[in-house]
């Protein structure tokens, strides 16, 4: 349904493309002419770009085309250039002459008209004939040269490219420059760069990568069909049918999320015809039970419970919006400011400051006081057009972001757009911003409107339903009718939709801040909105094209918040990842020399837990905003080897195994010891919601869940309430106690996932009160970073082995680290 409206809205399809120079994209009517050869009719501009002749002259020479027509909005109007006397249209023969008196000029061809005797008798000075093409350009007063700005923002085309595309046009007149760059099916895609000549080159690099990822995603999701499912039926508050069933996940990275679309099927039996319906996932439980809200409530076989099948319905929406954003970035000059445009492409731009009166206080109402590094961040951001804020774990980046948004909104530059790649992060931010007293609208995808949200009162769909004014009573009546009956008559439905759309627009326009996911910023409901100020949280977890979606709505001031020392976006297609799609815009801007402002005080971890991450990932700059006392729970009696250091590395020698699916790993010994540690925590007075078990491998995650529920020493329910998750899915979250199971334990192969320092950083920084790491030091010590982690634990007498009630320091020998990870 979400894509429904998208069909009528095409990105970047404005009138600016029609007469744009086919080489460089310049579209100023005063600067372009049309080739008048009937089979060609392409437009070209009069700028030289990087070549010796102007684009139009280049085209005419290389295509051997000789006639042109001026643009209707040019000073001469729509005019085919021709000799005034004989009508010759060959531009290579034409030139202007002027009358001896009076300021009159006329186009005349040099062969034969310049040599005709009749003309010599008239009052023309034939000796001063001035050719139309001079110095390999059209006369500049007739066809203007695009401004420097226009040229800088145009596609930078080389003479080689011109030759190639002209060659291509001979067989395919509609070919584009993009066609030149298209890699063959089996070719490795072109890798991402740090700098780009122009937005067209940028698009040429990213478009194929997004395509690869989209194809892979489609293939993966559409192969997820499951048969023989058991379904439990229910009815939602909105009278819609809900099907509950368990959708077991494979141990691949594919995760079902609320808002996903599934098709439920029943093949039929003697009493029931075959049936199928599409619905949206509105809820997922820890037990992997899916709640699917069906689109159509009629004819559902609710008296049947067994033998259902389910398929994934793949949607291209998010990928389409990324492609659309890149196109808009290239062809629409108003998509972002000139400064942002050149900066994003890595062109050397002179530093620009924003002249704004700064507020006296940098905090905001309803938010905690800011610390020094947070104040520094807010102050700097308000003065600069491009900003990176690095928020290491627990440093209060949401509060800082909310304060920035508060001050931006108070500057009166129009509405502020706030985005993040994930819905969870958007909700958190929306809540904090709303606490400052600003009017916030949280725009959700239509497919997620039934998904419960902690900030429901801020969502657009909720506000539309609850806008209680008399003018809206018609909408209210229709809404009630729809709720009661489930459906409306087609004329009522039409009326309802129109009223709803108008109300949505009204509410959105009156907000100070719009919050949505990056992909959500491409929602057709925002198509006519412009946002000068854009803040993107968790930006290091978004791909570049994803980040571009909110930016191309008119950005002049951009704030990217994130942490490039934690995990980046998940790219499933290896080819696309290898080519660099996993590198975020934040990271590229760092490579381009933009210095991130780092938030430096962490409020999450016990100081003993923050020490290693601070030294290894943040050059030792992370300060503790919490004391040892604040991170000590009274009455919890857990056998930490060193009383004031709630951490230990538990030496494991059990073997790793390949999981049943063949694509992941598990380690039975570690799983058994995880259960023992969990049980010890529970016995010591810790409650299940305080504990998180994390592991890099889905195979191990599934195995631990299973093992604990079968073999847990205490009540089964307690273990069910404990969250067991992958390291990656735990980014951005925290628990009081974390148990990390490393799994890998082989002498000869590598350690795979564990090799990424960013994953280790995330794993080590989730715990507030204490952490236990289970792993094989012999194997892990081969890697430099793990080696220093092990050394750190050993030096603090926290590297231990033996039974939990009698932990002893381990004397296990480390191996020499082999190579430096970079």
């Amino acid at each position: 349904e979400e894509t429904g409206d998208d069909d009528v809205y095409e990105f970047g399809k404005g009138d600016f493309t029609e007469h744009a120079c086919r080489y460089c994209g310049v579209s100023n009517p005063a600067c372009v002419v049309r080739c008048n050869v009937p089979s060609c009719r392409k437009w070209f501009c009069n700028s030289r770009g990087n070549t010796s002749g102007s684009h139009i002259v280049n085209h005419l020479v290389r295509a051997k085309h000789k006639e042109v027509c001026l643009h209707k909005d040019s000073p001469l109007g729509e005019t085919i250039l021709e000799c005034y006397n004989c009508g010759c249209r060959n531009v290579f023969l034409l030139g202007f002459i002027s009358a001896k008196t009076e300021s009159v000029v006329v186009l005349l061809c040099r062969e034969p008209c310049l040599n005709v005797n009749a003309l010599k008798d008239m009052n023309w000075d034939l000796s001063q004939w001035c050719p139309l093409i001079d110095d390999r350009c059209f006369l500049q007063w007739l066809v203007k040269i695009p401004s420097e700005q226009e040229q800088l923002r145009a596609r930078q085309i080389s003479a080689q490219q011109i030759n190639k595309v002209e060659e291509l046009w001979k067989s395919n007149p509609d070919a584009t420059l993009e066609d030149l760059e298209k890699p063959g099916v089996d070719d490795e895609p072109q890798p991402v760069a740090v700098k780009y000549e122009d937005a067209y080159q940028y698009q040429n690099v990213f478009a194929p990568l997004i395509k690869l990822e989209a194809d892979y995603d489609k293939m993966m999701k559409e192969s997820q069909s499951k048969d023989n499912l058991t379904v439990r039926w229910d009815i939602g508050l909105n009278k819609k049918r809900i099907a509950y069933f368990v959708f077991p996940k494979e141990d691949n990275e594919l995760r079902l999320v609320p808002g996903d679309e599934l098709r439920l099927r029943y093949s039929g039996d003697a009493a029931h015809p075959a049936w199928q319906s599409v619905g949206h996932v509105i809820k997922l439980t820890a037990q992997e039970e899916v709640a699917l809200e069906l689109r159509v409530s009629q004819g559902v076989p609710v008296d049947v419970n067994h033998g259902f099948s389910v398929d994934f319905v793949w949607k291209s929406t998010s990928f389409d919006r990324m492609q659309g954003a890149m196109k808009t970035f290239a062809v629409d000059e108003t998509s972002v400011s000139g400064y942002i445009y050149h900066h994003l492409l890595g062109h050397e731009v002179e530093v620009q400051m924003i002249r704004n009166t700064l507020p006296r206080r940098f905090g905001a109402p309803g938010l905690p006081e800011l610390n020094a590094s947070q104040v520094f961040a807010v102050k700097n951001v308000l003065q600069r057009p491009i900003n990176l804020i690095q928020g290491p774990p627990g440093t209060g980046k949401t509060v800082t972001s909310a304060a920035i948004v508060y001050h931006m909104a108070k500057q009166g530059q129009g509405q502020v757009l706030v985005c993040a790649p994930s819905n969870v992060a958007v909700d958190q931010l929306a809540e904090k911003i709303s606490a400052t007293g600003l009017k916030v609208v949280r725009l959700c995808a239509k497919s997620r409107e039934a998904v419960s949200s902690p900030v429901e009162h801020l969502t657009l769909h909720y506000q539309v339903r609850h806008l209680d004014t008399s003018e809206k009573s018609e909408l209210h009546k229709l809404q009630q009718l729809k709720d009661e009956q489930g459906e409306l008559s087609s004329s009522d439905e039409k009326k309802y939709k129109a009223l709803k759309r108008a109300t949505e627009r009204e509410i959105s326009q009156s907000a100070d801040v719009i919050c949505c996911t990056c992909v959500g910023a491409g929602d057709p409901r925002l198509a006519n909105f412009r946002f000068r100020q854009v803040l993107i949280d968790e930006s290091t977890q978004a791909t570049e094209p994803e980040c571009l979606i909110p930016l191309v709505l008119g950005a002049k001031q951009v704030v990217l918040v994130g942490d490039h020392c934690q995990l980046g976006p998940v790219i499933m297609c290896k080819k696309a990842a290898r080519a660099g799609l996993a590198q975020s815009l934040f990271e590229r801007l760092v490579l381009l020399g933009v210095k991130p402002i780092r938030l430096q005080v962490q409020y999450r971890m016990h100081p003993a837990l923050s020490e290693f991450p601070s030294n290894s990932f943040y050059e030792g700059t992370l300060q503790n905003g919490v004391t040892v006392n604040e991170r000590q729970l009274t009455g919890i009696d857990f056998p930490w080897p060193v009383p004031n250091r709630p951490m230990f590395f538990y030496v494991q020698m059990g073997q790793e195994e390949i999981s049943a699916s063949g694509t992941s790993y598990l380690n039975r010994t570690e799983a058994a010891n995880v259960e023992k540690i969990v049980t010890t925590f529970l016995r010591s007075g810790v409650v299940p919601s305080q504990i998180g078990v994390i592991t890099p491998y889905e195979g191990q995650r599934a195995y631990i869940v299973n093992y604990m529920s079968r073999n847990g020493a205490l009540r089964q329910q307690l273990y069910k309430e404990i969250e067991v998750a992958s390291v990656d899915s735990f980014q951005g979250r925290e628990k009081d106690y974390i148990i990390l199971s490393c799994v890998r334990s082989n002498e000869h192969q590598g350690i795979g996932f564990l090799n990424d320092p960013r994953r280790l950083n995330v794993a080590l920084t989730r715990a507030r009160y204490g952490i236990v790491i289970l792993g094989n030091p012999k194997v892990l010590s081969k890697q430099l970073l793990w080696n220093s982690l092990l050394t750190h634990y050993k030096e603090h007498e926290c590297l231990v082995e033996g039974p939990l009630n009698n932990l002893k320091q381990s004397m296990v020998q480390f191996q020499k680290p082999k190579k430096i990870y970079n």
Binding site: G49, K66, C88, K100, T101, V104, V116, I133, A159
Partner: protein
Amino acid sequence: DDEVRIRQKVTEVDPLEAANFEQELRAVVQESVEQRRQELRGRPALHMVMPITLFEGSNRDHHGRGFGGESGDEAMDEEAGGNKEVQVKVLVKRGNKQQTKQMYIPSDCSLIQSTKQKEAAEFEE
């Protein structure tokens, strides 16, 4: 207010490319001239009809867009940076109808220079 200053990268045109292109351009011009001569061989000379009204100083036909009145423009141009422009009438044909369009040509354009020199010379005589 969207002003942006790029540290100018000097676009260097490959001299070989420039030379090749110049050669190709000349070839096309030469070819065009010869082709035209072929076409016209044996045809009678063409006639040119000048719209007489034009020389009586009438300015009826203002088709140029974005160009304002005639008075005061030159002064403004001077202020704008010294690159003086002069107004000309460009004579064009629409079918068989003659029209003039107002345009501005930089005063240092050879087309204008020669006219001015001629005018000056005539004045001296």
